[in-house]
Amino acid sequence: MASGTQNLDELIGKEYEHGFVTELEADTVPPGLDEDVIRAISAKKGEPEFMLEWRLKAYRHWTTMREPAWAHVHYPPVDFQAISYYSAPKAKGEGPKSLDEVDPKLLETYNKLGIPLKEQEMLAGVAVDAVFDSVSVATTFKDKLGALGIIFCSFSEAVRNHPELVRKYLGSVVPYTDNFYASLNSAVFSDGSFVYVPKGVRCPMELSTYFRINAQNTGQFERTLIVADEGAYVSYLEGCTAPQRDENQLHAAVVELVALKDAQIKYSTVQNWYPGDEEGRGGIYNFVTKRGACRGENAKISWTQVETGSAITWKYPSVLLEGDNAVGEFYSVALTNNLQQADTGTKMIHIGRNTRSTIISKGISAGRGQNAYRGLVKVLKGAEDARNYTQCDSLLIGHRCGAHTFPYIEVKNPSAKVEHEATTSKISDDQLYYCMQRGISAEDAVSMIVNGFCKEVFKELPMEFAVEAQKLLGISLEGSVG
């Protein structure tokens, strides 16, 4: 509970806390996209031939595609030729060997965000692969992980040091032909994280990465690939903030997860990119493709997300349940305030026998925010005894927002059991009155009710994220009541 009652207007008018720009000389490719730009990106990163070929195939395919228009979001058309597709903090000679060698300005940025690397290294026990614009600048705990045979490094490093793994799994879950933004990402992706957990290894710590968008006009095209070999377990955390901008910035990331037999991957996200100001100016376009494949028996993939930022969120973390007894989970809290728009949900594709999936989605709309759940549950013919349970709840705060639910259910096997439930509600005057009668301020009451509404999802988050998520909801919401 916050200690005092803050003025409502003050809360509504609260500026985005993380809005600042770090002055750094960026090594940026001029705006525009053609095959030469892709060759340049690939060359800058010193990639092997197969990567360049893959990028070019993706680019050629992308040129034949059209931007999707089916999502329940509205925005001016994006000029893909006005974006610079590569921006890296200028390296001073060799890459940094330790945190001391990292550009102090960078470290300062993270300090302002409240994620000092050193502190995290020591206190939280979290290995951070920090991504500043497009290139990883610091990787910690590598030795400790290395002893167990776990590979946790930037994507470009993985391409150089573990090409056989990258080659085997890259695009195996999200092919370069998948969709408009995934194809674009495949062609121009700059960097991201790579995780490989070998057979039977349980990763002893939460792996984490923080994303930042920094240089102006720079699209952020991250690519993450996580592979859990047979019987392995890994929990991965992703969080992001972005500095305040007036111009819209595009973020088109791709995340691929591969869980082999008996493996488990838990992927958690707290997303609070810059959402734009009260008039909807600026803010990030977050068009992300996230998908996991349960490739073997008893594999399990669990997505948990808290989406509070971005002007537009377009994101459907999905699970392909290929192996028998595979399990897919999706827990989501999506919040839209002011003029934010979110079209998010999941896809659960049941392929193997006795596969199970659970979807819990909580949407909160305030101000003039538009929040849509869009989800697909598909049971293929061979998926005997597949089971799905879906619950989508929406909470409306204020009379100018919107909450939408677009579930798609396709069942081709009679033994399947698929259930979908959805409700829409608002915080009632009675609930508020009850709390206020007991000396709880209106904002605290709202925060309490909203946190209760989201409890089922928060309990799935790792501890440190759960705290951050509750704080975020508080900041983003409290002011919108009254």
């Binding site: 705060i397 100018r400 909450a403 259910i409 396709e410 069942v411 979908h420 829409t424 509600s425």
Partner: protein, 448 residues
Amino acid sequence: MEAAAEIKDHYRSDFERLRDGLPGGRIPWMKRRREAALARFAAQGFPTVRDEAWKYTDTGVIARRTFTTASPPARAALARGDLAAFTIPGLDCHRLVFVDGRIAPELCDLDALPAGAAVGGLAAALEGDAAGVEKLLGRLADDDGNGFAALNTAFMTDGVCLRLADGVALERPVHVLHLSTADTDGTAVHPRNLVALGRGSRAVLIETYAGLREAAGLTNVQSEVLLGEGAELEHYKLQQESAKTFHIADTGVHVPAGARYRAHGIDAGGRLVRNGVRVRIDGAGAECELNGLYVLAGRQHVDNHTVIDHLKPDGVSREFFKGVLEGHARSVFSGKVIVHPDAQHTDARQTNHNLLLSENAEADTRPQLEIYADDVKCAHGATVGQLDPDALYYLQSRAIDEDAARSLLIYAFANDVIGRLSLEPVRSYLERTLTERLLHGRRVEDLI
């Protein structure tokens, strides 16, 4: 592409052939509307699975063929005795019969209509009261929405035209039979129905669509229902087309303050069926209830596509759709409820349950909510599954054999919808015809 152009040319030349003979052929505004609709059809063509609204229904089987609109029959194709198979026993009603899209006056019974009630064919209404029809026709059409609706407007032949003055209660239901007699493939009929009820008036409309012979024909219906304030319509649509027929229907409904629209769609026939229903809840206390039951087997495909727009506060809508699928049948339910920004206190509920009884059946369901107001009650639920093993066990433990237990449970599942119909004769008629089909000829009474 070329094939598509050829198909469009086909409909253009079919239109040229029929133009002057179509109802209202000499009325300038009708001619203009038909021409405009044909141009819209040429521009948009038939919908494809790439259209979100048609994602699960591939109309390629229709688009690839050429359907020729049925010409007016030279002489009466049917006698009264032929109707027995389609009438509802024990139902005291007014009757209108359309054969291949044209009225068959010798088969109609329209005695003792109360004053202020105009019930007849649309073609006759166009002849008799063109100005009156002009004000109503096309107001709720979906010509811009999809190619089928545009094609219907271009080719519309006849259909029921039911108009009631303010405060008129039509006590006896109106039963409309749309019968197809074609015995060769490729015949199209384009029925067009118009219902306009004055303030506080009341009516019950029952439509039956049926084919007398097995032929791959196209029935492309468009209906418009305009209710006055406080008016009430109960609208039954019994679709019993032949197993080879393509049946595409679209209904636009306007429900103002205090008015009530109740619709029951029962689908038993047809090869590929699409029922589009668009309802505008446009006034305080307006109510709409849509019930649907589909009992499918073989390679049948039935798509129920509903859109309910809550435009004003205090509206109520209920949707209740259930389906039983056997063989290679496929069902699609797509229900969208849109609560517009000012429609506070809307109460909307949407339910779709599907029972899959065979390995190869498929059910796709999309119950959707778009909500732009905060003080509303909206809920939807959807399930796809098979018979509850516990319930089966329960019945078997009471000495009912497995086969009978299954039949009973299926009957109970389907009867949930039939029980919602208010006309007793229609209920018993459906219970008899549908359960016979569901239970493969066994009688419920014999099971217990």
